[in-house]
């Protein structure tokens, strides 16, 4: 039987606020354990949580960017359960009245556009962190993360393939990063993704029994985990088995999903409105204020790069993958760089060097004015394209301007015929065999001669002059 998968995703995004959701403790990642807690976030009696305005605004901002309705009234609820990383015994979350509802994003898979619906976006507090490694019989708890603002984005079950799921998460990650509301770091867990997966015979309307998959902390693992889980469910059904509704964890090492046998038997969260927190009312004025701060998002920039600068779609895709890359590119173009040439340098050398070091573009000392300076030297024939690569690497390493490096290293292109002629003569004098073979019709040897001449001149000879001289001397 043919099956199709039905997938819905929940994305948790840590908001980039300075302080926590309901208290003034720092929301920073990576500090010493339990140094960022206070009576509010560790659940001492008699404290009063107060909402962080910025966190609410970040959720509204995200909602606007993904076409959601912003709720005029929303409120916080308590989700009750016991776990060591949850000191109050309940998580402050939103239940029946989330801040955003009914949105959508568009993804492109196999060159086809697809709309993925969003059910809701709500705001909640994150839990602390349990550390299981290091002791046989104990777990350790760090509550620095407890109470930090967490935005949950819930999709409709509109996703049909693992590839669509990965594209959807990529799209949302790009959006929250562009908006500057979440850094999107999946490895550190500031962006986390859970999936609800079921399969059904193709053509059937009703959904099958679903499982929830957790612990997929990269795009690659989202695809792999979902591929595995879909296969597992189809095989189970084909073998006459039944799917059990359960939570399963993706095991990266084994490449499989495994049932998470939870010790908690009675699941009943007993949601009720949090009496400590007053309702949130959002009027049009506030919404418009936030809307006016919205930045241009990647889809729009991508289209603009194609129409305004005539870039190929692949270039525009890569250059808009991060807001900082798009801004870098556009700055270089504004300074006079030819768009496609700038794009080539960025997508080639620049990305290679950044990837080697695992650096972000904004961390690099190479700025848009550097590349524009380099392109000017090439245009004016001061340096050859080959030398330009050397200069580029040097600019990347030192942050010095191109003309400074060229002067310091003596890399100016030599166009003087008599000087180049010396090198040509030397190479030809040393290559009688090659000349014979060349004359016998082995045209490829032209490259050999040019290469040898470049070696002697340390790449500084003007290739045009070299070619002219070679052609003259070899009489072709």
């Amino acid at each position: 039987m043919q099956y199709e998968a039905v997938i819905g995703l929940e994305i948790h995004a840590q908001l980039m606020t300075e302080s926590k959701m309901f208290c003034g403790c720092s929301a920073k990642f990576g500090s010493e354990p339990n140094t960022q807690t206070c009576p509010v976030c560790i659940g001492m009696p008699g404290v009063l949580p107060v909402m962080n305005r910025k966190a609410i605004e970040y959720v509204i901002k995200t909602g606007l960017a993904v076409n959601c309705d912003i709720a005029p009234h929303s409120r916080f609820a308590r989700k009750n359960y016991f776990y060591p990383d949850l000191p109050k015994g309940y998580q402050i979350s939103q239940y029946e009245l989330p801040i955003c509802e009914r949105g959508f994003v568009e993804i492109i898979v196999n060159s086809e556009k697809k709309k993925i619906g969003l059910t809701r976006i709500h705001l909640e507090e994150d839990a602390g962190k349990n550390i299981h490694e290091g002791a046989e019989d104990y777990s350790f708890v760090d509550l620095n993360r407890a109470g930090t603002p967490l935005m949950e984005i819930v999709s409709e079950p509109d996703i049909r393939t693992p590839q669509e799921a990965a594209e959807y998460v990529k799209k949302l990650r790009a959006i929250v990063r562009y908006l500057g509301v979440c850094d999107g770091n999946m490895e550190q867990g500031s962006l986390r993704c859970d999936a609800n997966v079921s399969v059904r015979p193709t053509g059937q309307k009703e959904f099958g029994t679903r499982t929830e998959i957790k612990n997929m902390n990269s795009f690659k693992y989202i695809e792999k985990a979902l591929e595995y889980e879909i296969k597992r469910q189809v095989k189970l059904l084909n073998d006459g088995g039944r799917i059990i509704q359960e939570t399963r964890l993706w095991n990266t090492n084994k490449g499989i999903t495994e049932s998470m046998r939870s010790k908690e038997k009675a699941h009943d969260y007993r949601y009720f409105p949090d009496p400590d927190l007053v309702p949130v009312e959002v009027n049009d004025k506030w919404i418009e204020e936030i809307r006016s701060q919205l930045v241009e998002l990647s889809d729009s920039i991508r289209q603009r790069f194609v129409s305004q600068y005539g870039l190929p779609v692949q270039d525009a895709d890569l250059l808009t993958s991060e807001r900082s890359i798009a801004e870098w590119f556009e700055e270089a173009v504004k300074l006079g760089g030819e768009p496609k040439t700038v794009s080539n340098w960025m997508m080639g050398e620049f990305m290679r060097l950044l990837n080697e070091e695992g650096k972000q573009i904004e961390e690099s000392s190479l700025k848009p004015e550097h590349i524009v300076g380099l392109l000017m030297l090439i245009d004016k024939n001061v340096i050859s394209g080959k030398i330009a690569k050397t200069v580029f690497e040097e600019m990347y390493k030192t942050g010095n301007a191109a003309d400074v490096i060229v002067k310091e290293k003596g890399l100016v292109q030599v166009s003087d015929e008599s000087e180049i002629e010396k090198a040509v003569d030397e190479v030809l004098a040393n290559s009688p065999d090659e000349i014979e073979r060349f004359k016998a019709g082995d045209a490829k040897l032209m490259g050999f001669f040019v290469g040898q001449i470049m070696k002697i001149t340390k790449g500084k000879a003007n290739p045009k002059v070299v070619n002219e001289l070679l052609r003259k001397k070899l009489i072709i």
């Binding site: 206070c38 966190a55 777990s139």
Partner: protein
């Protein structure tokens, strides 16, 4: 919902005698609150908060946290600056 579920959710270990006692008491409490259902509230918004207040916010500013020694002061067990709890997962 039975008394076993309630005791598990609240992490209370009850003896059989207690279970019987509390089951009866809880039933009475629920019965009593059921009385509210006799009122016609069809035109009334559900009340989550009795004060006519909304949008009480704080600005996104840092305030001092507790020194970890103080924060961990009530913990039954600790290791360094970590809370130490019985193993959570197998």
């Amino acid at each position: 919902m039975n008394i076993d579920d309630v005791s598990l959710l609240s992490r209370l270990k009850l003896s059989d005698t207690e279970k019987e006692l509390f089951a009866g008491q809880l039933s009475k409490i629920i019965e009593y609150t059921e009385k509210l259902n006799e009122l016609d509230t069809s035109g009334v918004e559900p009340t989550a908060h009795i004060l006519p207040m909304n949008n009480v916010f704080r600005e996104d500013k840092l305030r001092n946290s507790l020194p970890p020694d103080k924060a961990l002061n009530n913990a039954p067990d600790r290791e360094g600056f970590f809370y130490k709890v019985p193993k959570i997962i197998e």
